[in-house]
Amino acid sequence: MDFFFNLAPLAILVPLLMFAAIILFTHPNNRLSSSLAIGGIAFSTIISWGIVLATILSGEHIWEETWQISIPWLPAGTSVLWIGLEVDSLTAAMLFMVPFVCMLIFIYSQGYMNLGKPNQDPRYSRFFAYISLFAAGMIGLVLSGSLLLLFIFWELMGLCSYLLIGFWSFRDRDTEDHIDEAQVKRARAAALKAFLTTRIGDVLLFSGMVLLWAYTGTLNFSEIFQPEVLEHLAEITIWGLPAATVIALLVFGGAVGKSAQFPLHVWLPDAMEGPTPVSALIHAATMVAAGVYLVARTYPLFVAGSVAGDGSVLAVVAVIGAITAFFGATIGLAQNDIKRVLAYSTISQLGYMMMALGIGAYVAAVFHLLTHAFFKALLFLGSGSVIHGVEHGHHEIAHHSDHHGDDDFNPNDMKTMGGLRHRMPRTFWTYIIGTLALVGWLPFAGFWSKDEILGEAFHLWREGGTFSLPLWVWLAGTLGALITALYMGRQIGLVFWGEPRHGAAEHAHESPHSMTTPLIVLAIFAVIGGLANLPSNVPLVGGELHHFIGEVHEVSEVVHSEALALNAIVAGLSTVLAVGGLIFGWAIYRNYRVGEVEPFQRWLGPVFTLLKNKYYVDELYRAVFIRPTVWLADISFRFDTGVIDYLVNLVGRVTRVVADFGGVFDAKVIDSTLVDGTGKVTNSFGGWLRQTQTGRVQNYVLVIAVTVLLLLGLYLYL
């Protein structure tokens, strides 16, 4: 069984190799490039599933002896930084999902980027190179056995996210004739925003790592989670708080950035500027789940920090999660962009996972992470298919009417769609399945995972007391479920029902099979995904995931988990809300006409405006952070030009004056007077003296004679 474990590095290296191969060699050949990328990820999928199988077969006690390899990477002074891979059941659970979803999205991208069509994306090969690099990053992150390696892959994904969000901001102005300048600008801004916003979280995470390294001297998970190390961390204090608490909070900061939780959620909706497969791959299914995975992976640290700090850390996680889950969902109600609704839905669902982690239900969180990955990837790819179809419809009418039509047509606007269920049947049916899974209808995957989170919260509330934290978590989750149902009802009503509200929707076509086949596969998983972890009172298959990953942190002696039975009140209530909300939303929106004030706007009034503007968080950040930063930069610039540059120039000018003086002194005194003077004197003396050389022998003889006479005279007289 070690066979597949030993192949684990290849699951990372092969997609990485494909990235390099495409970038360096095969990029001129589009079909070969995408085939390489898909082949690489398919290979990773096979290895990963082999690892999953091997983990399942190795029995219930894999947590006692996980498979790991590590190499000393960087000797630093007396200690050594190790990096390595580790496979335990949590890794295996993620490995089941990550490469597989990646592969489906790769296949879908072939169709979405119009391989072989006249409107094929000009940077087609590069796209596949980037998503291959991303896949390598995500698989690597999951397989990492140390926080250090995890961070490296974490940043790698941050880079890919940046490149792919801004994918349409890089345009070749020499070869492309129709460039949408506004889109270029939006994509550029969105990429920058995502990169900078997540960077805040990354810095916090890195600080946490530094502290961890400073206090324990190791970043390997298996060593950090030893009970004595955790105890040691709980005893030391930093700024009056236990070290474990501080470190856990910092690590959570990283997760907040990556998983788009409340204060740092602003980048995710803007990230929808990237191509839709990217939104599905990175900003819905996998990368944003990395934050949740990070918290689940370092859960013993959170529990230890929480115990040492009076429950503070997990409470923070739960509160942030609950806020995000509820408010994210409410914003989704008022958005018109089909992808932005899904983006806020993603934020909200990630909030569910975080609040599950916060109340101690980490198995439920991982469960929701897995099911969500499938159905949210499905929804995003479905929305991509819809956009693709509508764009083609728009091209068609633009073609027929002999000019470009209305150039500011937005194919993402749900209000211009409508009636697509007849034109795009495969997309429609799979989208409905995804919607039901997200909203949580029985027996779709989302029902089981969301219900487990709510059930855990409810259970803990009954144990914990009337106004304890789990009550609020449960309330936020339940209300969030209702709102989720409402906005999804609105969305499917607007997109698939009613009459087409624009010529583009009227002429929309079903997408090619390369796009719809992944949708169907994902839909299957969205239906049956719940089987992985049915409530514990279901015979035979109940609580499977609990058995599988429930004990993964047992070695730390602080984390325990047990599967819950189905709670009829919770399940019943959330089902009623989900069914009612979805049908209500669908019913009032399916016959919406262009130009009407939409029903929610009519009823909610100013609240709707507030939601439409996303609670003005962006504006707040603009006023509080961005404007002062720009102002500071402006001041610095002025200071730089006014004061620093002036001083620099002054120094230059003074030097020049001194140099000018020196130059004059050199020319006038040294050169003219001394150097030239010596020459002149010598010259004139020589000119005078050479008169004596007449060339006439008689003159010389005369001089000799006279001299002899004079000397003789001197001799005689002295």
């Binding site: 008169q691 050389q693 060339g695 006439r696 022998v697 008689q698 003889v701 004679a705």
Partner: protein, 102 residues
């Protein structure tokens, strides 16, 4: 016997005449003749001093014979040079021979 200084006066007069010829004549051959006069004045001195002061030793006479020999060689070389100069310049006027001038 006539006193020594008579001889010396004659020799000095001869030397001065020779020197005058060397300094004033334009013809190179005349200049050479002037030099011969000066050499002979010296020879006269040498012989006179030998006869009056050291008649036992032969040094004065030998010296005079050496001078005559050298003068003969000098005249030969000098005349050869003059022929060569004449061929080059067409003249042996020493006032015109100033190519070694600055």
């Amino acid at each position: 016997m006539i006193p020594l200084y008579w001889w010396l006066i004659v020799a000095a007069a001869l030397f001065c005449i020779g020197l005058y010829a060397v300094l004033s004549r334009k013809n190179a051959i005349a200049v050479l003749m002037g030099i011969e006069l000066m050499l002979n004045a010296v020879n006269l001195n040498l012989v006179a001093f030998w006869r009056y002061i050291t008649p036992q030793a032969l040094t004065g006479q030998v010296f005079a014979i050496f001078v005559i020999t050298v003068a003969a060689a000098e005249a030969a070389v000098g005349l050869a040079i003059f022929i060569s100069v004449y061929r080059m310049h067409g003249s042996i006027n020493v006032e015109k021979l100033d190519t070694m001038r600055w």
